[in-house]
Amino acid sequence: MKTLDQQPNTTTANATAQAQRARWLLYGEIALGIGALILMPIAIWAALAYAPTDAVQGDVQRIIYVHVPLAILPYVAFFVVFVASILYLWRNDERWDMLAHASAEVGVVFTTLMLIVGMLWGQGFWGRPWDWADPRLTTTFILWLIYISYLLLRFYTGNSERGARMAAVLGIAGFIDVPIVHFSVTWWRSIHPDTNYLVDNGSSALPPAATFALLVSFVAFTLLYVLLTVQVYHSLTLRRAALRLRAEAEDVTSES
């Protein structure tokens, strides 16, 4: 089976160009890291101290300031997987494949944290962490399983081109569940709060301090998503450069 690391354009010049790209990625990571470091304490302060206490739910409602960004950003992450997978199949450029892989990994981490945090909120407010009859919870769990399968497929197929193509197909097909998750609360009867809890007639349904806390948290988590995706992408580019160089070392050995 032909692997990506065995493609013919394996030269030391390519490795140098990749090292230069990696340097620019590093600068981007530093800028994103500084931005996230500044915003994160503000987001925590706004969520725990600045936003008012909810009259019905009490302090447990403050969980939404992390739960909502962690619920929205996987939509973005899996949309990036969807688009990058289409572009990979169309252009056959491995950079799209690596972007899809990186975004899927970060999306799964965010979805996992969102599910845990949601269960803690459910236990605190509903008195139970999970309800299998609820469409939002069940479709989100299915979404998590789809992208866990995507990552397992990537893990077991290594750097093979066939594995990358199979993962791209799964990345495209798996995105079907995203709109189902989003609209599940309006399509079916659900105990999960719908978007009217946050937005009413195009404006925020929350008090101004709560809106501020949610927005700051959303921006901070978005920076973290980009930072993490760039870091995972960086690690994947370095890994492929190492595999190419190893193949080149084997070629040099066989020539001698």
């Binding site: 969980i63 944290l113 845990i116 909120w121 993490l228 870091q231 370095l238 050995t253």
Partner: protein
């Protein structure tokens, strides 16, 4: 209040741990890259001498 503290702890410990794990992955791969690059250069030099 306990659920709130647990939720924030899970998120921040989880994200920091994940960030640290990625940094370790990058360091490991970078080390592998440097070792392999040195090996390629060494073998190319040996081939030229031969």
């Amino acid at each position: 209040m306990g659920y709130l503290i647990a939720a924030f702890s899970v998120v921040w410990v989880g994200l920091i741990a994940y960030l640290g794990w990625i940094a370790l992955r990058i360091r490991g791969v970078r080390l592998e890259l440097e070792t392999t690059r040195a090996l390629v250069e060494e073998r190319e030099a040996a081939n030229k001498q031969a």
